[in-house]
Symmetry: C2
Subunit: 354 residues, 2 copies
DNA sequence: GATATTTCCGTTACCGTGCACGGAATTTTT
DNA sequence: AAAAATTCCGTGCACGGTAACGGAAATATC
């Protein structure tokens, strides 16, 4: 039998006794709030180092009256969309961290308008949060915001997209975009070769700069160049808000290129092309998309979509909040700041038990 | 901005004030330790119901001196084996739950000897644990053990394999074996047909009854019957402790059936056939195995193995311990007792970020 | 009705930390 | 050297719950 027992911990009273000081002084040292002579400070610190003091979390939380708030900045989600999944992660994490006196405040912005993001940033700063989670869509504006956070000593964590900042983020949670495109290509071809493949893309006039789908496409193309050089990669642009036009575009495409049997989309909207394909099924078609949206999963279950690569935004956000909470409560930093999360492969046969 | 705020909670002092009793009496009611008149009991209960009292966890844990121990029964792991992964989950969970005053005690037994399991069971009972996690390999012996646990009011959770017990388990964490075999077949064929496939099996004289590989094989065979009826399923038995004999067996097999291009193993030991296949590579071979053992992952990364279906025993155990801890500390039961966990598909391109 | 039992309940001392308050010790000023 | 200003430090209560202890109230015994 192996026992993983609990080691006896030292208390601030013990430290007070050992140093001949009072617990008030020990407390001042522990929290760096001054009013302590150098001599006393050193005495306390040496005992702490020697005995390895760890504060009692319960006593600390019990005694502390104030709650701390973590602000979360996400693109405003449409129902059932990618960011809607992230929100469910916020809710879950809020429950989990409540026990540590952590509250959350969700701020959403228009992911295609930089001014909307700027607005939200100032509102976040006004709310004086203890920590911030950011899904950054605008490089420059985020840089400015993050600099301000650094100046105010407010820790922040990135999700979805990383942004190297001078002051340094506490952590990042996302998936490696380039590699996900590479993986996508591998899963699409399954070791075979293809003559033609189709990438369905969404057109929009966008102010937004950091777009993971660009990197995914690059990874996809590199895989093709290396493993299937004879393949023609075709692109088709659709309008996400006009289902009829989408159907027509697809119809026209397949009239022109009837031999295409492989389709991918690098954003989370594979479900947009599903209605057409269900109405006019093409045997032997292999379709891969991204992310575990409800609509995507339905298409996966009924066989229209072959596979989904899920990055699980809900988990990313949850981890981000957990990390921030741990830092605020235990002042513990994550071992590795940059955490590339697992890309989960979903098929109709393993999606149910998720 | 959406706020997920913290609701104000009522304390036992509030209850004492509202009922005109003392907090000692309130405490007696809350813990059902008698010495309270019916009249007072009702007064307290009605206030609790009305105001929705929830105890303050920190205060409770701070005041409580005693620690509780969770016993964990697993097959004795060989280094780098399936059960070794589970152990890492035990270690992780122990860290996580330590903060709640939970200790763990690991008991291992010989998974092929029922008497070894019986021995361990009695030792577990002697240790008087507050809760038990069991990976059951022996149907009857487990039934007996579990009955005894029920009689002593000790909650227990199954991992890996479920066993319907009369008294009822608190929870179960595992993957659906039959479905994993079905999924495996789908991933092996990738929509194509095959003339022949090979199942490599391990022979052993076993006392053990509940073997998930049997169910996996059934799922695999059913998939084949439904989607690829013309396929011949061949079996090859190897000796896990004799690498040379394994190589010879494989060599003989491929001499007799040189056209086979699909191999699966339903246990976690796909790595056993890797050395042979690396020495005598066969182009176009597709190989699928189970579980994220170090050796398997190496073979996945260098391309010998095409895919692994991972059930992540470390997560199963971790969840099991967490559930038990939550029950002991918060007296909260899981929403659903039976939790089929996600079957994770690993390829060389998504295994790194795990 | 006095005494012995039993039932019931209030008091109190913790658990370990946070933090405000007031005062002692030390340094600066005059 | 005395007074004023700082610096430094100890005391004590609060946080919410646990549980032992002893005594008051209610009931039983003779």
């Amino acid at each position: 039998m192996t026992k993983f027992a609990i080691v006896e911990k030292i208390t601030i009273n013990d430290i007070a006794r050992l140093t001949g000081l009072s617990k008030g002084t020990v407390d001042r040292v522990l929290h760096n709030r001054g009013e302590v002579s150098k001599k006393s400070y050193e005495k306390v610190m040496s005992v702490i180092r020697e005995k390895g003091y760890e504060p009692n979390l319960y006593a600390s939380l019990l005694a502390r009256t104030s709650h701390r708030t973590i602000a979360i900045l996400l693109p405003k989600p449409l129902p059932g969309s990618y960011w809607d999944l992230a929100i469910s992660g916020v809710e879950k994490a809020t429950e989990d961290e409540r026990q540590f006196g952590i509250e959350t405040a969700l701020f959403t912005y228009d992911e295609f308008r930089a001014d909307s993001f700027r607005d939200v940033c100032t509102r976040v700063l006004e709310s004086k949060p203890s920590g911030v989670v950011i899904a950054p869509m605008f490089q420059y504006e985020t840089q400015v915001f993050v600099q301000e956070l650094g100046a105010r000593q407010i820790p922040y964590v990135f999700v979805d997209t990383k942004l190297d900042s001078p002051d340094g983020h506490l952590a990042f949670f996302g998936i490696p975009s380039y590699k996900s495109g590479y993986l996508c290509a591998d899963m699409l071809l399954q070791g075979d070769k293809a003559k033609e493949v189709l990438i369905v893309r969404i057109m929009r006039d966008k102010e937004r700069q950091s777009d993971p789908t660009v990197l995914r496409r690059a990874g996809f193309q590199d895989y093709m160049r290396e493993n299937n050089p004879g393949c023609t990669i075709r692109s088709l642009f659709i309008n996400p808000t006009d289902a009829e036009a989408t159907d027509e575009a697809l119809s026209a495409f397949f009239e022109e290129f009837p031999k295409v049997r492989h389709i991918v989309m690098f954003n989370s909207r594979i479900h947009l092309i599903v209605p057409y394909l269900e109405r006019y099924p093409i045997p032997g078609m292999r379709i891969i998309g991204f992310d575990n949206l409800e609509a995507n999963i339905r298409a996966l279950k009924n066989g229209t979509v072959s596979m989904l690569i899920a990055q699980h935004p809900e988990k990313q956000v949850q981890e981000a909040i957990r990390t921030l909470s741990e830092f605020l409560v235990f002042q513990r930093k994550p071992e590795t700041p940059d955490n590339h999360m697992h890309m989960d492969l979903l098929t109709r046969y393993n999606v149910e038990d998720y």
